[in-house]
């Protein structure tokens, strides 16, 4: 029960029930947070990622030119082959379109997960619940697949294995989310703080280790590809996803926070209320 005698809203139950919103309201907030996150992730990717993509495409075209006897004609042919559908400038604008649509999609999924799981997240604080879900998704759906299948720039990857790589990537993503879920289940079996953390970490690592051993290893990086360019591209790609999920979590947390301090917030800080 709150320790304060001043209820934040007359007429509401005085227990610490989280402010409940309808699913439609939550979904709109999730989509909006996703759009904001997608736009910012797109700006990050445009600023820091495009130079790496350009450099990789230059290597790709040089390799294509070198593989045919008439190098000059091959470059022309490659340019003619790449150019017509979407120009490089178009692809750079499409980058922001892609991250925005992707942000909206994951924002909608985050809002749905929040609506379904809110009561199971053992915190009276709505914003903390939203941030926990976004953090869990960043760990399970981004970091776990990233470490097993780090993203590749253009000029890396055998087109004939794209189906296998796509399914392996999706499997790693799903197994990453299962690992986070297992960590929460394991942590809740313990009753002291350090034992919860240890149980959660152990369960996560067990599931991820088994998943990594089961999933096929894929390494299609040509020996001639510049290592530093590969590293920079991959770190930037991880940065794009990190920006996306961090902004999504923060924006959604801000949007689901009650407009005025809820009874729970007042109970958490009784000295301020008194």
């Amino acid at each position: 029960m709150p320790l304060t005698t001043t209820p934040a809203r007359p007429g509401t139950p005085s227990d610490a029930a989280p402010v409940t919103r309808g699913f439609g309201s939550l979904l709109l907030r999730g989509l909006l947070a996703g759009l904001i996150a997608g736009l910012l992730a797109g700006a990050f990717a445009f600023t820091f990622g495009e130079t790496h993509v350009d450099a990789a495409i230059a290597i790709e075209e040089a390799a294509a030119a070198a593989s045919t006897p008439d190098a000059g004609a091959a470059v022309d042919a490659a340019v003619a082959e790449e150019e017509p559908l979407v120009s490089r400038e178009g692809q750079k604008a499409g980058l922001v379109l892609a991250t925005s649509l992707y942000g909206i999609a994951v924002g909608g999924i985050l809002a749905t997960a929040y609506a379904l799981l809110r009561r199971r997240l053992r915190t009276p604080n709505d914003s903390r619940a939203a941030l926990s879900l976004a953090g869990a998704a960043l760990l399970g759906a981004v970091v776990v697949p990233f470490l097993k299948y780090p993203p590749n720039p253009p000029a890396v990857g055998d087109p004939s294995t794209i189906d296998q790589r796509t399914w392996s990537y999706l499997a790693a993503l799903v197994l990453g989310l299962i690992a986070v879920w297992a960590a929460v289940i394991a942590a809740r079996t313990q009753h002291t703080e350090w034992r919860r953390a240890a149980a959660g970490a152990a369960a996560f690592l067990v599931v991820v280790t088994v998943a990594y051993l089961m999933l096929p290893s894929i390494d299609e990086v040509p020996t001639t590809f510049p290592p530093s360019l590969l590293w920079n591209f991959r770190i930037t790609s991880l940065g794009v996803q990190t920006v996306l999920w961090t902004v999504l979590g923060l924006a959604f947390a801000a949007l689901v926070a009650p407009a005025r301090p809820a009874p729970a917030a007042a109970a958490a800080a009784p000295s301020a209320a008194a």
């Binding site: 999609a105 009561r119 780090p150 990857g157």
Partner: protein, 67 residues
């Protein structure tokens, strides 16, 4: 179990069938949208490879396997 949980109201995790149905539909639409960005090669968008090529850089930098 935890101190925090004892503060929670007793009428906890009943998720209504309507919410399940709505959530399923929303997730399906969202996954379709993510598929359009990440994997579609014209089957869904019916625009040939235009959208696929347009979002080429985004796919690479979001870390999705591309080609």
């Amino acid at each position: 179990m935890s101190d925090v949980q004892s503060v929670q109201p007793t009428s906890t995790p009943v998720v209504s069938p309507q919410l399940i149905a709505a959530a399923t539909g929303v997730v399906a639409v969202m996954l379709l949208l993510a598929y359009l960005v990440a994997f579609d090669q014209g089957a869904l968008s019916q625009g040939g490879m235009y959208l696929h090529e347009l979002m080429h850089d985004g796919r690479h930098l979001l870390g999705v396997p591309c080609h």
